[in-house]
């Protein structure tokens, strides 16, 4: 029996070695991440792949801009009409908000508050987006040499994108809010509600708000912002708009579906709060 087994084990020696190496690579990566240290192998491979990916991505975007009118003429005309309507509405909102800002600043000074926390967002290009359908991640053109660190918050003008999970000196990997491993404290922005829950992704186009108390005042159309609970995401960043509210089994909690404020499919430039 032994003489029959030995050749088989020898024949598949490299398979066993690579299986063990694969498991060790995963273990090593998770351990490095848990200790807040970069995984050297991942940093090297990502540093090799990032420059050509960036060049190819930039070239593709340039081509898309140059030839886009060929394919999107009708869509662009419709979008243009919608944009005009939207601009008119936003101009009205802008005037009202400007007035509110003046009042806000006056009252703030009156109360003697000092604005101590200034966010200085750092702009970054998206080098690659969702390279694998199982994970909602993006890689950006800023890294540890730009002062970015793990858990730095990534936003756009419209709202929260996610947080930095891995770094190389020149790139960083971001776990987007839509990934099933992602989560952020959420709060209803409406002044007479302020209900809080946890906003999670499920790799689809919608977010889910969990752990809302059964008596939480939340309804379709409510805008959700980050609650600031959890210590990673600052309070007040837009998450999205509630599209559906339903009660969990047992009627102890509610959950809500949320349309994200950010269009995760069209991310090209984002801002990082270092």
């Amino acid at each position: 029996m032994r003489s029959e087994r030995t050749p088989v084990a020898r024949r598949f020696q490299a398979v066993l070695v690579f299986l063990i190496l694969g498991a060790l690579a995963g273990f090593w990566h998770n351990r490095s991440m848990a200790n807040g240290k970069p995984d050297v192998l991942a940093v090297i491979l990502r540093t090799v792949i990032a420059p050509p990916a960036r060049i190819l991505g930039g070239f593709s975007r340039w081509c898309s801009v140059q030839t886009g009118w060929l394919f999107h003429g009708r869509t662009l005309a419709r979008e243009n009409t919608e944009m005009h309507a939207r601009i008119a509405q936003l101009e009205g909102d802008n005037i009202r908000l400007h007035e509110a800002e003046i009042n806000y600043n006056r009252l703030r000074l009156d109360l003697g508050f000092i604005q101590s926390a200034h966010f200085r967002p750092l702009s970054a290009d998206v080098i690659w987006r969702r390279p694998d359908p199982k994970f909602d991640t993006i890689t950006l053109s800023r890294g540890s040499s730009d002062g970015i660190h793990v858990n730095s918050v990534v936003i756009t003008r419209n709202g929260l994108v996610g947080k930095v999970t891995e770094l190389t000196p020149t790139t960083c990997s971001v776990l987007m809010l839509t990934d099933q491993n992602s989560g952020a404290g959420a709060r209803v922005q409406r002044a007479d509600s302020r209900a809080t829950g946890v906003c999670k992704g499920d790799n689809s186009h919608l977010l889910t708000v969990l752990y809302l108390p059964n008596d939480a005042d939340i309804k379709i159309g409510d805008i959700l912002v980050t609650s600031g609970l959890g210590g990673i995401f600052p309070a007040g960043i837009a998450l999205g708009t509630v599209t559906e509210v339903k009660e969990d089994e047992g009627n102890l909690l509610k959950r809500a579906k949320v349309k994200p404020a950010v269009d995760f499919d069209k991310l090209e430039e984002v801002y990082i709060l270092p």
């Binding site: 190496l21 690579a25 694998d132 199982k134 890689t139 776990l175």
Partner: protein, 168 residues
């Protein structure tokens, strides 16, 4: 350079090229839930030219590259590598058991390999939404089946296989 060295250099080049394409275009060319998985398709097709041990090496590099460009921490980094090693080594193991240098076999293996890699990863690291995962995997299998032809031709060219199926 001997044929074996050229072969593995060709595989490495193909896998790095696939990683760059995966990073830049996988999301951009998405149709509904269907996205291509250039890396899996390339690894599976490279394994057609290997034995089990060679397939394991190809699978290891493909899994590592996929994990590096895509996987967030604590979300299946090792599982990605191990699932690719297993699938590619099995395809390599079929070395003497089937006629291999054929475009139809390439399409078939790209589909089966992608399905097996996806299923293995699901077993190692189950996802919350089975239906979303299944739809996405079905789309990737279709995409990879179409991609199999150009990728297979590229691999043959990179490793110098002539029309008679012999390496030069």
């Amino acid at each position: 350079m001997n044929a074996e060295t050229r072969k593995y250099l060709g595989f490495s080049s193909a896998l790095f090229l696939a990683a760059i394409l995966q990073a830049v275009y996988a999301d951009a060319v998405r149709i509904k839930a269907a996205r291509p998985d250039f890396l899996s398709a390339t690894a599976v097709l490279c394994s057609l030219f290997c034995d089990a041990n060679g397939g394991a090496a190809v699978g290891f590099l493909a899994g590592l590259l996929t994990a590096v460009i895509a996987a967030p921490p604590h979300a299946g980094y090792g599982s990605l590598v191990v699932s690719r090693v297993l699938v590619c080594s099995v395809i390599g193991w079929l070395d003497d058991r089937m006629f291999r240098d054929n475009y139809l076999i390439a399409v078939l293996m790209a589909a089966c390999g992608t399905a097996s890699a996806g299923a293995l990863f699901f077993i190692f690291d189950p996802e919350i939404h089975f239906s979303h995962w299944a739809k996405s995997l079905a789309g990737t299998i279709l995409y990879n089946s179409f991609l199999a032809l150009p990728i297979y031709a590229l691999i043959r060219w990179l490793i110098g296989v002539n029309k008679k199926g012999r390496t030069s």
